[in-house]
């Protein structure tokens, strides 16, 4: 047992404690320097269980270092570094401390070797991150934050309930691969699923991420969901149901993303879609698939952060992220435009960009295990990604019709942060070997085969062609507040109306039940207030005699129970 190692998470917590007392300029330096330090520590950590702490008769494993934990730890440090660099201009102590605590908790969770430690960090990420939403300090952000917090804390509560049952069943709290079956594992699975934004549990994501501050969203996008991906990969690799969940996750956000006008929300939907790819990889569970998941998570954190940063920079300069109000910004924000295009190319998996080399691992794994339908769905989803993230984001922000806005170029620190992220996106795409070397399993995989490149290029080119044709023929008038790039009219018009009809009925029933329950609850509280309130019988100070009566009653009862019990 080694004691001379400080868990990486504690470095962040320490910094968070010191940060409020550090002068403003130094604080930004601290925020940027610390993730680098943490990254170095993670890089040089030996493998194994490095630190045990006794807690209540349990042995907590605070530092389990293996290749999977290491690569997530590294990319989280990198994301923290980029996010903090991007937020260099922020002078809000709350946000800065929250960002440190959040990153620290996420990294701590990755190295957690048991379910209790995981739970602590799991809740840590929830509590710390909500301040990034509240930091916007608007009424709407406050309510969004509360909703987000309820979901996230709920996920943690389900996790600890599952962990408690798991301990009772198996007598172990170790966080290892589990098989679904008992209530315990289902609860744990559900808790991971909520954080991973499984379909029907995903709404918190689109609700919360676009509501955070410009810099907060960048940081939010990196940790929570990827932590869930890590937890699933660690706990439920090879669970078949995940393949189908993942496939649905890749599909359904596309339709929302294409009709969404707020560009940050579009990115939130596409984040959901990208998570789907990773979840499919976990579900397949072979070495190749898990490598694909981990690699894709690595690449995804970087290009998603890059996209959020570029849209954030636009929001920062123009005050809006609505597609219908933007356009033509390439004139004055050329660098941001270039970075955004690099991010878009990466997420669309253009050859020579990071998405290509990582996504193809998952696609190949699904084909290799003979999941051809899944393979086809993933392929279709890739095309969808290209539509809404690859083309829509850069097109509507920087090109399209001229909005007349002439904002300044993004501030230098943002450009540097975006530049570094872009560098990684391209570097991973061009030369993936170092990334492959970090993966949990041996990789003998070549992304750049002729077939791969051609398939991908065909897909991309036809998508682009479709887009161009549709734009040229004027099927999508630019003044539409939400522009649907997908060819399917029914999803834009018919489905929403159908959903709306059903929703009205459901809402009516729901409201009925809810108001009935509220009324009942109000009555109960009123009753309780009547009896327990300051003027109620229960709380009144009775005369001394009353108490004497109670004493005799109690004495009598005790005697009776003792004698005849």
């Amino acid at each position: 047992m080694m004691v001379d190692i400080i868990p990486t998470a504690f470095l962040f917590f320490l910094a968070a404690m010191v940060a409020p007392f550090v002068p403003v300029v130094l604080r930004s330096v601290l925020l940027v320097a610390l993730p680098i330090l943490a990254g170095f520590q993670i890089w040089y950590l030996p493998e194994g269980m490095l630190l045990q702490v006794g807690f209540f008769g349990f042995e907590l494993e605070l530092m389990r270092v293996d290749p999977m934990a290491r690569i997530f730890g590294l990319v989280f440090s990198l994301a923290a570094f980029l996010g903090n660099l991007y937020a260099w201009h922020v002078r809000d102590t709350v946000q800065q401390v929250a960002a440190l605590l959040y990153a620290g908790s996420a990294i701590g969770a990755v190295f957690a070797g048991d379910l209790i430690t995981l739970f602590f960090y799991w809740e840590g990420t929830a509590i710390a991150s909500v301040f990034l939403i509240w930091a916007r300090r608007t009424e709407g952000a406050y309510h969004t934050g509360i909703r987000y917090l309820v979901v996230q804390i709920g996920s943690g509560v389900i996790l600890i309930a599952g962990a408690a049952l798991f301990y009772r069943e198996t007598g172990s709290i170790a966080f290892e691969n589990m098989t679904l079956g008992s209530l315990a594992t289902w609860l744990i699975f559900l808790s991971f699923g909520i954080k991973c934004a499984f379909p029907l549990m995903h709404n918190w994501l689109q609700d919360a991420y676009p509501a955070a501050t410009v810099t907060g969203t960048v940081i939010l996008s990196a940790f929570t969901t990827k932590l869930a991906v890590y937890a699933l990969a660690r706990g439920f690799a090879g669970t078949e149901i995940l393949i189908y969940i993942g496939a649905i996750m890749t599909l359904f956000p596309i339709f929302y993303a294409v009709i969404e006008n707020d560009l940050r929300r579009v990115l939130a939907y596409s984040l959901n879609n990208q998570l789907g790819f990773m979840v499919v990889g976990i579900g397949i569970g072979t070495e190749l698939a898990l490598n694909g998941t981990v690699a894709h998570a690595f690449a995804h954190i970087l290009y998603k952060a890059l996209l959020f940063m570029s849209v954030g920079a636009v929001l920062f300069r123009t005050g809006t992220a609505k597609g219908s109000e933007l356009g033509g910004l390439y004139r004055t924000m050329p660098l941001t435009m270039i970075f955004c295009v690099i991010g878009a190319a990466s997420i669309s998996a253009f050859p020579l960009f990071s998405g290509f080399v990582t996504k193809s691992l998952i696609l190949s794994a699904s084909a290799k295990e003979h999941y051809y339908y899944i393979w086809a769905i993933l392929l279709f989803a890739s095309a969808g990604v290209f539509h809404h993230s690859g083309i829509k984001i850069p097109y509507f922000a920087f090109f399209a019709h001229d909005s007349g806005l002439r904002p300044k170029e993004a501030p230098p620190h943002m450009l540097i942060a975006m530049g570094i992220a872009s560098f990684f996106c391209i570097a991973v795409g061009v030369y993936p070997q170092p990334l492959y070397a970090l993966l949990p399993y041996e990789v003998e995989y070549i992304s750049y085969t002729t077939t791969h490149v051609i398939t991908q290029m065909q897909l991309l080119m036809f998508s682009a062609l479709a887009f161009t044709v549709l734009m040229r023929t004027g099927i999508y008038p630019p003044e539409l507040r939400s522009v649907n790039l997908d060819s399917d009219w029914s999803y834009r018009w018919l489905l929403p109306r159908m959903i709306r009809k059903i929703a009205t009925v459901v809402a009516a029933i729901w409201n009925g039940i809810l108001s009935f329950l509220t009324q009942r609850l109000k009555n109960i509280i009123a009753g309780l207030y009547h009896s327990h309130g300051p003027e109620g019988r229960m709380a009144s100070t009775w005369p001394t005699g009353a108490m004497v009566i109670w004493i005799s009653v109690l004495l009598g009862t005790t005697l009776i129970v003792s004698f005849f019990g």
């Binding site: 006794g54 807690f55 209540f56 602590f120 309780l528 207030y529 327990h532 309130g533 300051p534 109620g536 229960m538 709380a539 100070t541 009775w542 001394t544 009353a546 108490m547 004497v548 109670w550 004493i551 009653v553 109690l554 004495l555 009862t557 005790t558 005697l559 129970v561 003792s562 004698f563 019990g565």
Partner: protein, 511 residues
Amino acid sequence: MATEHVHVARTLMDHLPVLVVLVPFLAAPLTVLLGSQRLAWPIAFVSSLVSFLISIKLLMQVIDGGVISYHIGGWAPPLGIEYRIDAANAFVLLLVSAIGTIVMPYTVQSIKSEISERHHTLFYTMYLLCFTGLLGVVATGDAFNVFVFLEISSLSTYVLVAMGAKADKRALTAAYDYLIMGTIGATFFVIGIGFLYAGTGTLNMADIAAHISTNGADRTIETAFAFIVVGMGLKVAIYPLHLWLPNAYTYAPSAVTSFLAATATKVAIYVLLRFMFSVFQPDFLFEINALRWIMIPLALVAMFAASLIAVFQSDLKRMLAYSSIAQIGYILLGIGLLSATGLSGAIVHLFNHGITKAALFMGVGALVLRSGSSFYARIEGMGKVMPWTSFAIVIAGLSLIGVPGTAGFISKWVLVQAALEQGWWPIALAVVASSLLAIIYVWRVIEVLYMAQPADPTRREAPLSMLIPLWIMALSTIWFGLDTDMTMSAARAAADGLLNGFSIGGTSVGH
């Protein structure tokens, strides 16, 4: 495992069991005799500090399950009076003396505003007497001696509560009510001891225990049990016998409330434990019945009813008083479960709740010092003008709820475990459900302190002499929430010691 050190005392170290009581006992008249207001505080502080240090030493000696038997004046029990220190009472001694010492610096500023000038010297005398009484109750191994010390502490408590009359005249009626109630309780207790003496012919607790375990229980002893439990139950503030508590805590000076809330009821619980588990053996049927049919239901009622009352209160100090009654419910629940885990949960909650409540009442005292009252309407927005005080209240409030990472969590966790161990999961659920009520009443305080605009933004933060003791307490709730080694092992040793009764050392006592 348990070894008995029969008293062959020659050095000062061997006299520690009596010195822990004797030092404050002698210091109390000294303050009056000297009659100097300037000297009263230093004398009181030094003597309580000495007691505190002795308690630490004593706990270290007995934590491995040892027992120290000290014979007063060299007279061997059962004729002579015996002081008997084992893990259970050493732990409570530590709690009492620690709180007594830490509250000391806090009293200086607090009583300046809350007690009239001419009573200041007397305050320290009474404080020391109360302190002595509580320590004596815990340290002694003689049943009648328990009663004597109980009266010493009770009588001085009535005076201390009445000293709140400068701020609010209702302190006088509160003290009067408490006097009547407390006397009835003490009378019941002494009647119980009388029955015990009639039934066994001895007053030494170990001797009584030995007598009961060899000869079995008869009606006299069963009656004694009922009287002792009910009499002490009043001091504990078991649910329907709690009526003296809200007023006494609300109208007593803040320093007194901080001290009493953390110690007085806890000492009474210790006596209850000592009698239930050591003197009467729990394997007797009548005791199991009493616990199962009286203790547990009353504990559950307390947990919910008192918490609900606390939810609707509009006075912070009164709210905390009711929450104390609810928290006592948890402790009684742990006792009622009649298992080693339940008992150690009860003992550790006794400690953890003691420090939590001390912190909270100190915080209230600081608020009262600056705002003049503890009504929610008067302390609105104090989070902005008194950030240190308010934040300490928040920390202790979290411990009151039982948030992980605070002391309150540890004890509730053990209690839940104990309930599950016996398969009584509805009780485990009840513990969790009543904690939800605690969330509500603590959240109301946070809302009052932070979400409103301060009525008077020119108020200042409390003085350091109050803040430091307050923060020592607040931080210790976090400390004991993270480092559970000391509290849990002591509670475990105490529980084992209590469940074993005097059966191990008992035979060697009469030699």
